[in-house]
């Protein structure tokens, strides 16, 4: 991985990002804006599941309202994420936080797909009463996305993992 990161850092496109100093902060900002859309979409669906918000909407209506924004924002996150990896490959790829984040991301996406599938089969039932299992998964989903935000920020501080860090403090 280190060889790959160092090779990537020397490619033309990576050098171009590194030499235009505004690119990384600007792309990071777009990334954060998109995270705002993802987190709030997950939050609104969760609040609907628990009956704290949007009770005038059915579950399918709620998911239709926020689902497309969630997937759209995830697309933006993927693109801006790839630009950041290309611009700073060693910083990203040589960090435990990054790989834990990717793992959590896979779980978060799997949970969202599972939820949408389950909703299609149980739409009517869920509008009357959501089962404890679904409520539990809703909380797990929110925690997974919160952990993704934490891990994303911790990429800048990989030393917090101590000896597990791929980039320990000198």
């Amino acid at each position: 991985m280190e060889h790959f990161a160092q090779w990537l850092a020397q490619t033309d496109v990576s050098v171009a990002i590194q030499t235009h100093l505004w690119v990384i902060p600007a792309i990071q900002s777009v990334h954060i804006v998109a995270i705002g859309v993802v987190l709030s979409s997950v939050l609104m669906v969760d609040l609907r599941i628990f009956g704290y918000a949007g009770r005038d909407l059915t579950m399918p209506q709620t998911v239709r309202r926020f689902g497309s924004w969630l997937w759209g924002a995830l697309g933006v996150l993927l693109i801006t994420g790839i630009v950041m990896i290309t611009g700073e490959p060693v910083r990203e790829l040589m960090s435990l936080s990054f790989w834990l984040k990717m793992m959590q991301l896979a779980i978060g996406i799997a949970l969202a797909l599972m939820f949408q599938r389950a909703l299609r089969h149980n739409a009517q039932r869920w509008d009357h009463a959501v089962s404890a299992r679904v409520k539990f998964l809703a909380i797990v989903t929110l925690i997974v996305w919160l952990s993704i935000i934490f891990l994303g920020r911790l990429i800048a501080y990989d030393h917090v993992w101590g000896s597990w860090s791929m980039r320990p403090l000198e």
Binding site: Q28, I32, L47, G54, H159, V160, L169
Partner: protein, 180 residues
């Protein structure tokens, strides 16, 4: 007491020193700040997009707002608290940082924008709440709010690149202090 002395004093306080010296405190506080600010932005965007007639148009504006605004304030409280904690670790630098000052100005403008909205379109909300799109004053407030908060996020990230951070691990590529 002048401001420089005051900033030095809060920087030297036991609490600020503890955050600075801890390996974990600052990264975790900063992560909570990101959670808070993304929630502030995302929930405000839901209301702004409703005003602009882009999303949630089938629901009355007041219903959207009543559902969401309390979560926005909760998230805002988390963001301000964590922001203050980060500020005290390096108060002098942040205070004189141009991007930081612009960021505070934009947050103040967002507050003014919200007040103006409440005093204009907000007063007659009963008349247009169920319309798919808000009257002009509401649309302007919604668009301004979106632009201001996106500006706050950009400036906030920029502050991170222009203010010195304690404890910078050595790396092959480190763009964190690039603007110095």
């Amino acid at each position: 007491m002048d401001i420089t002395t005051f900033l030095k004093q809060i920087e030297a306080s036991g609490f600020a020193t503890w955050i600075r010296d801890s390996l974990y405190a600052f990264p975790l506080i900063e992560s909570c700040h990101v959670v808070g600010l993304t929630m502030v932005f995302g929930t405000i965007a839901i209301m702004d997009l409703r005003l602009l007639g882009i999303a949630s148009v089938e629901r009355p504006f007041t219903r959207v707002k009543n559902d969401i605004l309390k979560w926005t304030w909760l998230a805002f409280a988390l963001t301000v608290t964590t922001g203050l904690l980060m500020f005290i670790t390096n108060a002098g630098v942040y205070f004189h940082n141009t991007q930081f000052r612009f960021k505070m100005a934009l947050i103040a403008l967002s507050g003014i924008n919200m007040l103006v909205f409440e005093l204009t379109a907000g007063r007659s909300v009963g008349r247009w709440s169920s319309d798919r799109i808000a009257p002009r004053a509401g649309r302007i407030a919604g668009a301004l709010s979106l632009a201001l908060w996106i500006g706050v996020i950009f400036l906030g990230r920029w502050v991170g690149f222009t203010s010195t951070r304690h404890l910078e691990p050595s790396q092959e590529i480190n763009l964190d202090n690039i603007f110095q």
